[in-house]
């Protein structure tokens, strides 16, 4: 898909969303959902970048999200770092962790990568709840319940004033997804496409699989970390409950709905999934069942996710050669 078309879809989506407060600005519940949509859109897009484009089946996105949220909260609560700076530091810290996780992963086959990255997710919970976490200031199993909001020139962005916070989130989401778009359409993106087609072929072009994959680990964990940090400052509290499976599954649904490797589909995927989730909420227990069935059906019938509607036939993922 061309840069222009991707940018148009993104711009259109964000533009429409930007207008939302005009209609629903005074409804807290919906504003909150919209902000969460923006947050998830970034996380899902990062996941798509690493999985769909770089072809690394990473399951660590929620873990990176939590690491970002926790580290920023700890920086600002325990060390008194201003929130904006803490977010940046949290992003860098998460990127560092991302690289450390990426290093052993890059020599492994698909299900192994998935396992090692998911292992980070699995070990994070006992780590944060245990003595090590407590020593770092994670608040153990209680979590951190007093995270200061983001303040810029004395103006604070928190759940108390949702409309400005919404625009802050929008800007952040636009910035993050713009970075992803540029990456996909840059030399990097080409390199990944080459890598996906054939690693040997890419090697012959002088593309170092290792370098690029590590860079994508760093970048996606940086962005995920930053948005995770924003989440913490926005909600004002975090707990290890983020790491339960519910969020993980929801994010996965977003990627599937948006189309794997079909950026900017994940942005739409995030909105559609969250809205569907809320619309299905009256079903109670049946909701999760329906969501599961939806994933199965979508994977089978709509391999390109909602982006399938936008694609020209030639761009659609044809059955393999």
């Amino acid at each position: 898909m061309s840069f222009k078309r991707m940018a148009t879809i993104m711009g259109g989506t964000f533009g429409l969303v930007a207008a939302a407060p005009l209609f629903v600005g005074d409804i807290r519940f919906i504003m909150h959902i919209l902000i969460m949509c923006l947050i998830w859109a970034v996380v899902a897009s990062c996941w798509d970048l690493i999985m769909g484009f770089a072809g690394i089946f990473s399951f660590g996105q929620v873990a990176f999200f939590a690491i970002g949220a926790y580290s920023s909260a700890i920086f600002s609560v325990n060390l008194g770092v201003p929130a904006v700076l803490a977010m940046l530091l949290a992003g860098l810290f998460t990127a560092l962790i991302g690289v450390l996780v990426g290093l052993p992963c890059l020599k492994l086959a698909g299900p192994y990568v998935a396992l090692v990255t998911f292992g980070v997710h699995m070990t994070l919970m006992p780590l944060l709840r245990g003595k090590i976490g407590m020593a770092l200031g994670s608040g153990g199993s209680v979590g951190i319940l007093t995270i200061p909001p983001i303040r810029i020139f004395g103006y604070s962005f928190s759940s108390a004033n949702l409309v400005p916070t919404f625009y802050f989130a929008l800007l952040l989401a636009m910035a993050c997804t713009a970075v992803i778009l540029v990456v996909i359409k840059s030399h990097w993106g080409t390199a990944f496409l080459a890598l996906k087609d054939s690693e040997d072929f890419a090697m012959s072009l002088g593309v170092s699989a290792f370098k690029y994959k590590l860079m994508v680990f760093a970048l996606t964990s940086f962005l995920t970390g930053v948005i995770g940090a924003f989440y913490g400052h926005y909600i004002g509290m975090i707990s290890t409950r983020m790491l339960e499976l519910d969020l993980f599954c929801t994010l996965m649904v977003m990627v599937v709905v948006g189309g794997i490797g079909m950026f900017p589909g994940t942005i739409l995927g995030a909105f559609i999934t969250v809205i569907a989730n809320e619309l299905l909420a009256p079903l109670g227990t049946y909701r999760a069942m329906v969501m599961g069935a939806l994933v199965v059906i979508l994977v089978l019938l709509l391999p390109n996710g909602v982006m399938g509607f936008w694609l020209k036939p030639a761009e659609a993922e044809a059955p393999a050669a």
Binding site: P104, P111, L127, G130, M252, T285, V295, E317, P319
Partner: protein, 302 residues
């Protein structure tokens, strides 16, 4: 001279270590049963089944219905007899309807992972709707305990140990000594070669999926007697099996078997020496170091 004198403390410590070893062996046999089906399906079809844990519970719930609601007579023998075909058919159909159509895509492995994750979400919540959120249990296949000196074994543990090891050995024998078993192996080693000699690859894929469903469901019936059937436990079982198969080398049944016992033992000793909460962390350290040294796992082929 206290030359040959062994203090009472030492004897107690020895008993304790034997106890821990037994605990490790019990863990191991349970894990082996869980992991072999998963490694089989990956080895043959290269598909990774995330709904694996949900099939574990499927076996448990089938048995629970037969015992609690239908009131099937004949004990566990007739239950196995009744449930195994059901699991086989379910597994076969799921492969045909849900997995096989995905094979035509280039990144079908990823699509299968996604699809089976969705399937797991669906099945687990279906269990909640149908059976409620509370755990269910099955009566033990054999009651009572066996005491040898200081050591005590429940007959249930012994049964689980022998049935799971026996089941795996039987499975291995069938794989090597029957026509269909050889065909499964052939597809695993060289799918194109298998097609050339006239092995219906698609049918073998479906059959493998079905066999692995039977194995994990069988494990579910067996282990639900010791632990429980809990609708949401599929994820944890899946992850455990996944770690074990990865550690052993995906696709290697022997590797899975070794890994199950090594990990079972390690957990028992870590729990004993450091505390239970370190089990998971130790597990991943072990896995990571193994994968750094041998990216294909203990016995896997690169």
């Amino acid at each position: 001279m206290h030359f040959m004198h062994i203090s009472e403390d030492t004897i107690l410590l020895l008993y304790e270590i034997v106890d821990v070893i037994i605990s490790g062996l019990t863990n191991g046999s349970v894990y082996a049963l869980m992991a072999v089906g998963l490694t089989l399906i990956y080895g043959v079809t290269k598909a990774f089944n995330f709904a694996y844990g949900s099939f574990f519970n499927l076996g448990g719930y089938c048995a629970w219905i037969l015992i609690g609601i239908v009131g099937l007579a004949g004990g566990y023998f007739s239950i196995f007899l009744a449930v195994v075909p059901v699991l086989f058919v379910v597994g076969y159909l799921l492969e045909k309807v849900l997995v096989a159509p995905l094979r035509k895509y280039e990144d079908w492995e990823n699509k299968v992972m996604m699809m089976t994750l969705g399937l797991a979400l669906f099945m687990d919540n279906l269990y909640v709707v149908v059976f409620g959120g509370r755990v269910k249990s099955l009566p033990p296949i054999l009651e009572g305990t066996l005491e040898i000196g200081q050591l005590v074994f429940t007959y249930l543990d012994i049964t689980i140990f022998f049935l799971s090891i026996g089941g795996i050995l039987l499975f291995g024998w069938l794989l090597n000594n029957t026509r269909i078993g050889m065909a499964v192996k052939a597809v695993a080693q060289n799918p194109e070669g298998a097609r050339i000699v006239g092995i219906p690859k698609e049918r073998i894929f479906a059959a493998t999926f079905a066999i692995s469903t039977v194995m994990v469901g069988f494990g579910g019936i067996l282990l639900s007697q010791k632990y429980f059937i809990s609708p949401m436990s599929g994820g944890a079982i899946m992850v455990k099996s996944w770690v074990i198969t990865a550690f052993g080398g995906m696709g290697s049944i022997r590797g899975g078997l070794y890994a199950a016992f090594i990990i079972g033992m390690m957990e028992a000793f870590v729990g004993w020496g450091f505390g239970m909460s370190y089990g998971m962390i130790a597990l991943f350290i072990l896995l990571l170091t193994t994968l750094v040294v041998r990216p294909q796992g203990l016995m896997g082929k690169s």
